[in-house]
């Protein structure tokens, strides 16, 4: 299987850089889902919102010539789409699993419908990497950590902001309360419905931005089924990261490297079916979830207690 390993410095750095790039994609979507789930709403529509963000973001970026407009449009499209889930699952109290899945359908369908005319519009990445002055000169680390698209830095910043808002502000406290014991949050004067609506839409915006990053930076074009299940990995990452923005980031990096490894095996001189390797992120997710639950067997679950349960004041 292994012919000759050619671990050159450049190839290893290339792998790590690509891992951070894929990690950014996963992190944006997983961070948004963390916010939604913290408020007590599971949204299985991440894959669909990501797809719509990918196609809308790409079209806007191409038409305006601005990748930033693309990311913003992708985020707006994701947030708008998530509103459907918010109305159905939060407003009308429909089953969150069913509504979220239907949202994935709707998102994938809309992405194809809208992007229909743009499949052949292939071009290079619309973003330029930004080298952080002073830091990018550090050997190894400079290249791996400090030479990325602005979106990667934005994702890191978003993670810090989300952590801060969730854990250090009154809104964050209310949001977490809505996800743990909604009636208590209500009694404390928070509007559970408003908080959950907002959390779902923040989740949608992040998933949409993640999709737009995929088309405007990582791939540089749009085609059908481009998201290829990565939105689902993002959903799993939230469990992996125990609903904590920092741990979710670690998970995103780990899975990002796995995704990046696939296209780079040949560079390392390893002969192994790329298709079988393609399975690893998905199998890894299953294995990781199993290991987590074995380790957490006798501990309280880190999952928000009210996840999946609709809230109606008159039924508390």
């Amino acid at each position: 299987m292994i012919l000759a390993l050619t671990f050159t410095e450049a190839s290893v750095i290339g792998l790590l850089v690509a891992g951070v790039q894929f990690g950014t994609l996963l992190y944006l979507a997983a961070l948004g889902e963390t916010v939604a789930e913290k408020s007590g709403v599971l949204n299985l529509g991440v894959e669909g919102m990501m797809a719509t963000g990918a196609s809308v973001g790409f079209i806007v970026a191409v038409e305006t010539g601005s990748p930033w407009a693309g990311i913003l449009a992708g985020a707006a499209a994701g947030a708008l789409l998530s509103l459907v889930h918010a109305v159905a699952a939060v407003g009308l109290g429909a089953d969150q699993v069913v509504s979220g899945l239907a949202l994935t359908f709707l998102g994938l369908g809309l992405a194809d419908f809208v992007g229909d005319g743009y499949t052949d519009d292939a071009r290079r990445s619309l973003f330029r990497d930004v080298e952080l002055p002073g830091l990018d000169g550090i050997p190894w680390i400079g290249e791996i950590v400090f030479r990325h698209s602005p979106v990667t830095y934005g994702a890191v910043l978003s993670g810090i902001v989300v952590w801060f808002v969730l854990n250090r502000t009154a809104v964050g406290l209310g949001l977490r309360a809505a996800g743990e014991t909604a009636a208590t949050a209500d009694a404390a004067g928070h509007s559970v419905l408003r908080l959950r609506f907002a959390a779902v839409m923040v989740g949608g915006a992040f998933a949409g931005a993640s999709g737009a990053y995929l088309t405007t930076y990582l791939v540089g074009s749009w085609s059908q089924n481009l998201t290829a299940g990565r939105g689902w990995i993002a959903v799993a990452l939230v469990i992996f990261g125990a609903w904590r923005p920092g741990r979710v980031a670690l998970g995103a990096l780990l899975f990002g490297f796995t995704l990046a490894l696939k296209s780079r095996l040949a560079v390392f001189g390893i002969e192994f079916s790329p298709i079988l390797l393609d399975m690893t992120p998905y199998l890894l997710t299953v294995v990781v979830l199993v290991v987590i639950s074995i380790r957490a067997r006798n501990k309280p679950s880190p999952a928000p207690a009210a996840i999946g349960i609709p809230y109606r004041r008159e039924e508390r």
Binding site: A94, G109, D112, F113, I275, Y282, V286
Partner: protein, 357 residues
């Protein structure tokens, strides 16, 4: 100053769900039409074409009926898992692995006579589907790992497994270099009832009927209904939740695998990663619209079969994206969710002062 609030009806309105379904259908057609008009597609022509190519003429009934078969079986698989409050989101992967197992039998015994080979292939498909659900079932029963994520991840694995088989081990040596699995033995083809409507229609109805009987009449089914409705009652009655969870997911996987076997012997010539064609996912919407009731599943599956078959015809003839069909399916569900609120709740106008806490 008055404001509107929803209060739960003591008894849901009778016949609410069929009405909600019809409302969902109307809602989907309306929103879909607006969407198409905005993007410059002729909505009326599209709907007319979709109707003609699915249920509107007897010529195309066969295609629609055949399409409803995997949708109904996938819907049943989802509703079986739902009896224990579980979500088998990965029926898609079980369909694929069921078809893979059936293909293996076809490769091992290519000379067996048709009826024997078909039976063996369908049994293999059932076992294959159950096997693909075994891991998630054990993880859920023993460790409480969310079956939603595990079944879904295994779907992605199944897709790649088949792609691997296509390119390597099972590649057709006479396939002119194309990465295709060798076609199944020609005698392993389900017979037709009429036109091109295959026996799978009867088989699917039989499986659905058997499960309806099983859940309502057998001891295991009775225990299942208790365990699914109340954990505590089940514990008092000495019912093992772990075994029920595992059993239900295996059965769900088996039914999905059966759908894969039917597809391979009924409508497909060879195994490929598209053989499941999203049925596992559509099945979730079908089951949800049928309120998980086996008796309602065939009706909803037929409607969805029509939308899917009709949706395929609009690209070639009208140049409209077949994604319209996917959008319509999702909108039917959202419309029905909206309408169902009115059978479960009553809208009441109350004074603002009273309601604001």
């Amino acid at each position: 100053m008055k404001r509107l609030v929803l209060t739960r009806r003591e008894i849901p309105t009778r016949g609410g769900q069929p009405v909600a379904f019809l409302f969902g259908l109307a809602f989907a057609l309306l929103v879909g039409a607006i969407l198409m008009q905005v993007s410059g597609d002729p909505a009326i022509d599209v709907y007319q074409r979709m109707w003609e190519r699915s249920l509107g003429s007897t010529d195309t009934w066969s295609v629609t009926f055949n399409r409803a078969v995997p949708l109904a079986l996938a819907g049943l698989a989802v509703s079986i898992a739902a009896t224990m409050g579980l979500w088998n989101i990965g029926a898609e992967g079980q369909i694929l692995f069921g078809a893979t197992a059936a293909t293996l039998v076809g490769r091992l015994f290519p000379d067996w006579p048709g009826p024997v080979l078909i039976t063996a292939m369908l049994i293999a498909a059932v076992i294959g589907g159950a096997l693909w659900a075994l891991g998630p079932g054990l993880a859920k029963a023993e460790l409480g790992v969310s079956e939603i994520i595990t079944t879904l991840m295994l779907t992605e694995v199944a897709i790649r497994l088949i792609t691997y088989l296509e390119q390597g081990p099972w590649k057709d040596p006479e396939g002119f270099g194309f990465p295709n699995v060798t076609a199944r033995p020609p005698q392993a083809e389900l017979g037709d009832l009429w036109d091109r409507t295959h026996i799978g229609v009867l088989l699917a109805l039989a499986v659905i009927g058997a499960f309806a009987w099983f859940i309502n009449r057998s001891v295991w089914g009775y225990e299942l209904r208790i365990a699914g409705s109340s954990r505590q009652t089940a514990a008092y009655a000495g019912i093992s939740m772990r075994r029920k969870v595992l059993g239900v997911l295996l059965l769900s996987g088996a039914v999905a695998g059966f759908a894969g076997g039917i597809e391979l012997t009924g409508t497909a010539v060879r195994l490929n990663a598209q053989i499941s064609n999203g049925y596992g996912f559509s099945g979730i919407i079908v089951a949800a619209l049928a309120l998980m009731r086996p008796s309602a599943i065939p009706v909803v599956a037929l409607a969805f079969g029509a939308v899917q078959v009709g949706g395929q015809s609009i690209q070639t003839s009208l140049g409209v994206s077949p994604a319209v069909s996917t959008i319509l399916q999702a909108l039917i569900l959202f419309g029905a969710i909206g309408a169902a609120v009115f059978s479960n709740y009553r809208v009441v106008a109350v004074d603002r002062q009273v309601s604001v806490a």
